[in-house]
């Protein structure tokens, strides 16, 4: 068996070590003259180590940069222990940032005779941080701009709705009123047919007035501030149901207990008024009308359901029915202006929830909705 000689760790070995690192390593005397640099230093500043020995940073770098290096050297010498600082040095693509550890070497008497430096390039990290900061600032600015735009458009919508509610109804009153005056004061002069036409005018004026009111309700559902609080949907649904039952028809209500959600109670009442009101309306021809309100959790999200066994609808119109003034039934069949579900949709959306409709002609309809934001991949079924 052969034995290896003990390894001697000398100058060459140490040079090999410092030459194989991505850090920049150098040693200067207390006056700033270079004693030694590693290969990375040579590569970075395109210099040979033989040429650099004896020079100072002021021979190699611009004044302010060399001044900073020198100041850090002196600080490390003064402290006597390793010092960590950030320094900047020119690189191929502008200034690079380094994190540098500097420490003095002492002779037997304890006097510093040299200073060693190990610098690691952190430019990429710095630039990434800077980019993140810039993007953040930009995002914040954009959010502020969007918020301002949104506030402005809400204000405009508000002014528009206000003007509509004041100005658009006034001419309708004249049309309606003077038609009535004609019917009352000139009944004898007007043929039966003419009187019928006047009544048609009045009926349409009434419809127009209803549509204006509905539009205002829709805009109000958008404009009013949303105040979230724990809301008892069971109680609200029972209130609405009893109001509907007061109108005389016999309906079986199946309203589950304990339906609660954080939401705006006024707006959620409006949702239930519309959904239950629709269910009530469309079960008008059902033999044994049943309307139910229940909850079905779906992957952790509460999904509320209003279901009836009324006229139902054709599923191919399911998407259209939430658009304002969309109607799936003729006025003769079921009355309405077609704004209710648009209001419902708007309120649910403002809560961060979703809604869908399901139906079969002649068998009934179901509306399912959530009232809180769900994960992006969550789908309402």
């Amino acid at each position: 068996m052969s034995t290896r000689p003990p390894v001697q760790v000398g100058h060459e070995q140490l040079m090999a070590l410092i030459d194989h690192t991505s850090a920049v390593i150098y040693m200067r005397d207390v006056d700033g003259h270079y004693l030694l640099v590693n290969r990375e230093y040579e590569r970075l500043f395109n210099l040979h180590r033989e040429d650099i020995v004896g020079l100072t940073d002021h021979d190699l770098f611009e004044g302010p940069i060399a001044d900073e290096f020198r100041a850090n050297d002196l600080a490390a010498i003064a402290r006597g222990i390793p010092l960590q600082v950030e320094e900047q040095a020119p690189g191929e693509d502008g200034l690079h940032t380094y994190v540098t550890v500097k420490f003095p070497l002492h002779d037997a008497a304890g006097h510093a005779y040299a200073i060693c430096g190990i610098s690691t390039d952190i430019t990429a990290r710095k630039r990434a941080e800077e980019e993140v900061r810039r993007l953040n600032d930009e995002l914040e600015l954009r959010v502020r701009q969007r918020t301002a735009e949104l506030e402005a458009s809400t204000r405009e919508l508000d002014a528009f709705a206000y003007s509509v509610s004041h100005d658009l109804r006034a001419p309708l009153r004249s049309l309606e009123g003077f038609s009535q005056v004609l019917l009352e004061d000139y009944a004898e002069a007007l043929a039966e047919e003419a009187q019928g036409y006047l009544r048609r005018i009045q009926a349409n004026v009434g419809r127009m007035a209803q549509m204006i009111d509905d539009l205002l309700h829709l805009s109000r559902a958008t404009r009013t501030q949303l105040h979230r609080e724990p809301t008892d949907l069971s109680a609200l649904a029972r209130e609405v149901a009893s109001e509907l039952t007061d109108s005389g028809r016999k309906i079986t209500w199946e309203i589950a207990d304990g339906l609660t959600a954080p939401g705006d109670p006024h707006l959620i009442r409006l949702v239930l008024q519309n959904l239950l009101g629709n269910a009530w309306k469309f079960t008008g021809n059902a033999e044994h009308p049943v309307i139910s309100v229940s909850v079905h959790p779906q992957s952790g999200v509460d999904v509320f359901e209003v279901r009836d066994n009324g006229a139902g609808f054709d599923m191919k119109y399911a998407d259209k029915m939430f658009d304002p003034f969309q109607r799936l039934h003729s006025a003769g069949e079921f009355e309405g202006t077609g704004i209710g579900l648009a209001i419902v949709h708007r309120i649910i959306t403002r809560h961060g929830g979703r809604i869908l409709a399901e139906g079969t002609v002649g068998e009934g309809a179901a509306f399912r909705f959530s009232l809180a934001p769900a994960p992006a991949d969550w789908e309402l079924r």
């Binding site: 109804r169 006034a170 009535q180």
Partner: protein, 141 residues
Amino acid sequence: MTERPILLVEDNPDDVLLTVRAFTKNRIRNEVVVAVDGEQALQRLLPDAGEPLRPALVLLDIKLPKIDGLEVLRRIRDDDRTRNLPVVVLTTSNEERDIVASYRLGANSFVRKPVVFEEFVSAVNTLGVYWLLVNEPAPSG
């Protein structure tokens, strides 16, 4: 029924005609004095010189030329001579802010004019019966 006039503050001539007709249909025979803007209404009620109008009831529209109805109401309530005057806001809108502002400024009632004339006639009847017949006005009013 009191014989004092009714002040109708209304800029729309059609509405004036229909309101007067509604009074007639309800056999309310008080004289109807019309002011077509807020400035005229204030000149009638709080004139710089001459005899002020002392109506039994003011029917006040909100959206008016020159001085709007809410400002008219504020000045009526600010003045000792008209502080107790019954003022019914009779307007087209039912915007919550108008209702809140009207009551805050001391309106006695807020009535939204119905589009259907027969409903309007019935609203005017109720107003007339209440403010001209049932209600006992303030002695100084």
